[in-house]
């Protein structure tokens, strides 16, 4: 808060003080930093991300390790979260599954951003027929019922090899999620392209590609990054739901969704909660933290919001 006041440069009593010029990025970052809940979200997410990478590496066991003499063991000193029905360590699989779930979220978010920006950017920049066509197309995708459609398409893609399943899931989520972002980007580009700097670009003879992606896009970056963050959270949720139904990431590759799928076996559900409960809690914590960051970013980039 103090820094912000200083940066306003209104210090009649101390005119010799150097006035620091602050760019929009710095303002956003300071606003974000001042938002304690959002920072907490960021810290939690970073910790989770580090944990899912490091914990499986440090535990010194292999994916294929199992012990049929110690199946369905409750949490103990040797296995902090117990073991599953094949005697695999649940803690190890929990963090390994976290890698997959978070990766799906990241890939889906990136795909949404790439598709949304490309389609929205081209539609907004060219206008006319291209705009009409692309927006009709996005309206069609937008009107597809998301969850039922993803489940139906996932059931068609059963032929995909097990180890590629996570990419299919990420791809499906991204392929159905871009229209919202495309609309937002198009709307922004429509107003931006009328501004003077675009005339300058015209005069300098830049190519259309360069005009759209190098000169227009950076202006909608704040919108995109907020959207991408929230999109990532919802992709993690969608993966969990899909894998819970047995149509997403397939075992033996663990993911938070298919670890929760173990709960569909009523014996595991009742008697061995350590096999499915932690996955749900981790998933919840991750999604909450990403959402907190996303909302913090939205407030930070919002010019109306003054802290």
């Amino acid at each position: 808060m103090e820094t912000l006041k200083k940066d306003n440069g209104i210090h009649p009593s101390a005119p010799e003080e150097k006035i620091e010029s602050v760019g929009p990025w710095m303002i956003a970052w300071r606003k974000f930093r001042a938002n304690r809940i959002a920072v907490a979200g960021l810290v939690i997410f970073v910790l989770i991300a580090i944990a899912v990478v490091l914990v499986p590496m440090l535990m010194g066991i292999k994916v294929t390790d199992y012990d049929l003499n110690a199946v369905n063991q409750p949490p103990s000193a040797a296995h902090w979260l117990g073991t599953d029905k094949q005697g695999r360590d649940c803690l190890y699989r929990l963090f390994l599954g976290g890698r997959i779930s978070i990766m799906v979220g990241i890939i889906a978010a990136i795909l949404t951003v790439v598709l949304g920006c490309t389609i929205g950017g081209i539609a907004g920049y060219y206008g006319g027929f291209i705009d009409n066509f692309l927006m009709r197309f996005s309206e069609i995708v937008y009107s597809l019922p998301f969850t039922p459609m993803i489940i139906a398409v996932a059931s068609v893609m059963l032929w995909v090899p097990q180890n590629l399943k996570m990419y299919t899931v990420a791809f499906l989520i991204g392929a159905l999620s871009w229209p919202g972002l495309a609309r937002l980007v198009r709307g922004q580009i429509l107003t931006l392209r009328e501004q003077e700097f675009m005339q300058a670009c015209e005069a300098l003879g830049f190519s259309d590609f360069s005009k759209i992606f190098r000169h227009l896009m950076p202006n909608v970056f704040s919108l995109v990054i907020v959207n991408a963050t929230l999109q990532m959270a919802s992709a993690v949720l969608t993966e969990a739901g899909l894998s819970y139904l047995g149509m997403g990431v397939m075992p033996p590759t663990p993911s938070w969704g298919n670890l929760m799928n173990l709960a569909r076996d009523s014996e595991v559900f009742k008697n061995y909660p350590w096999q499915w409960l932690p996955a749900g809690l981790m998933c919840l914590l991750t999604v909450v933290s990403i959402n907190l960051v996303g909302e913090g970013l939205r407030d930070a980039f919002d010019p109306k919001e003054i802290q």
């Binding site: 809940i37 009709r136 309206e139 009107s143 039922p148 459609m149 398409v153 739901g241 959402n291």
Partner: protein, 327 residues
């Protein structure tokens, strides 16, 4: 306005048409043998009978022709027969959709009862501990996987309380031997609704309380609220009579566009609680390759989506005169 709505409805037709193509294509490419689905599970039909069935159901025709036939039938109201439930699909949807509706409607009402007062309090005490608490709480509501929350409720509540049913919509014994009175039936259904409604209401509460809070915050910052306060009105009067009335308008529009979604099932949640709604029927249909049923359910949800989008655009322009609709 009417002109705009009619125009929107007309432009929705080609969109819906393409969506039906996509849905039909997806459903037709689902793995498994469709003829077996028609002939029933574990069929030992000979090749000749299979071929006859194939011809009878038109499965020997090329895909585009099958699509046109299906579309023609669908438009005349004949949605085909569900191969798993052995009933006309129209009848299936017509009955299951109400199960979905009562669940969603109950959740919406409960959510609103809590969301409105809490949202207002948050806006009034913006930035306080209470505000932050509810902000995080409602963020939990939109971040928790619904099925996981359902599983947790079943695990910690359902399995531990004897009289709390954890799945289905009716007690099997009672449903088979007949209820003694309508009240017993209603009571039984209400009992089964407790857990799934709690889960749904949590998510809906989150959406609405955030909405109420944000629109109240916006209104409270307006000049006329300052005027009302300057007149010396009581704070209660200012908040509830002057501010809330105006914050209510966007809330009503949100409710308006929420209506179509009351009929579309929460797919995964209904599966967790074995609630016989549209979402559960859809999943079962997909698992058992019941193509007529899956097609109908998907088209039904697509129509609801389109209606919801249309309603939201209409509502926005009704509320905010600055949003112009070009007729």
């Amino acid at each position: 306005m009417l002109k705009y709505i009619v125009k929107r409805l007309l432009t929705s037709i080609p969109v819906l048409l393409i969506i039906t193509m996509v849905i039909f294509g997806v459903v037709k490419s689902m793995p498994g043998d469709e003829v077996s689905a028609y002939l029933g599970p574990g069929t030992r039909a000979t090749a000749v009978i299979r071929q006859q069935a194939r011809v009878k159901y038109g499965l020997d025709k090329p895909l585009p022709e099958q699509y046109v036939r299906w579309l023609g039938r669908t438009l005349t109201g004949n949605l085909g027969t569900s191969t798993t439930l052995r009933k006309p699909v129209g009848e299936v949807i017509g009955s299951y959709v109400w199960n979905t509706f009562i669940l969603n409607a109950a959740a919406l009402i409960i959510a609103l009862i809590f969301a409105i007062p809490i949202g207002i309090r948050q806006a009034v005490k913006k930035g306080s501990f209470e505000d932050n608490f509810w902000t995080v709480f409602s963020l939990l509501g939109i971040s928790v996987p619904t099925f996981f929350f359902g599983l947790v409720l079943i695990f910690f509540v359902g399995l531990r309380i004897d009289w709390m049913p954890i799945s289905g919509m009716r007690d099997t014994m009672l449903a088979n031997f007949g209820y003694s009175s309508i009240w017993q039936e209603i009571g039984d259904i209400l009992l089964h609704m407790i857990l799934p409604t709690t889960v749904l209401a949590f998510g809906t509460f989150a959406t609405f309380s955030r909405y109420v809070r944000n629109s109240m915050v916006e209104v409270i910052n307006q000049d006329y609220i300052r005027t009302a306060r300057a007149k010396g009105l009581k704070e209660k009067t200012v908040i509830y009579r002057h501010a809330f009335k105006n914050a209510l308008i966007p809330l009503v529009t949100l409710l308006g566009m929420y209506i179509p979604s009351l009929f579309s099932g929460a797919t995964i949640l209904e599966t967790v609680f074995v609630w016989p709604g549209i979402g559960k029927v859809l999943i079962d249909g997909i698992n058992q390759r019941d193509s007529a049923l899956v097609c109908a359910c998907l088209v039904f949800s697509a129509i609801l989506m389109i209606l919801g989008n249309l309603l939201s655009d209409v509502c926005y322009s009704l509320v905010d005169p600055r949003v112009k609709v070009d007729g």
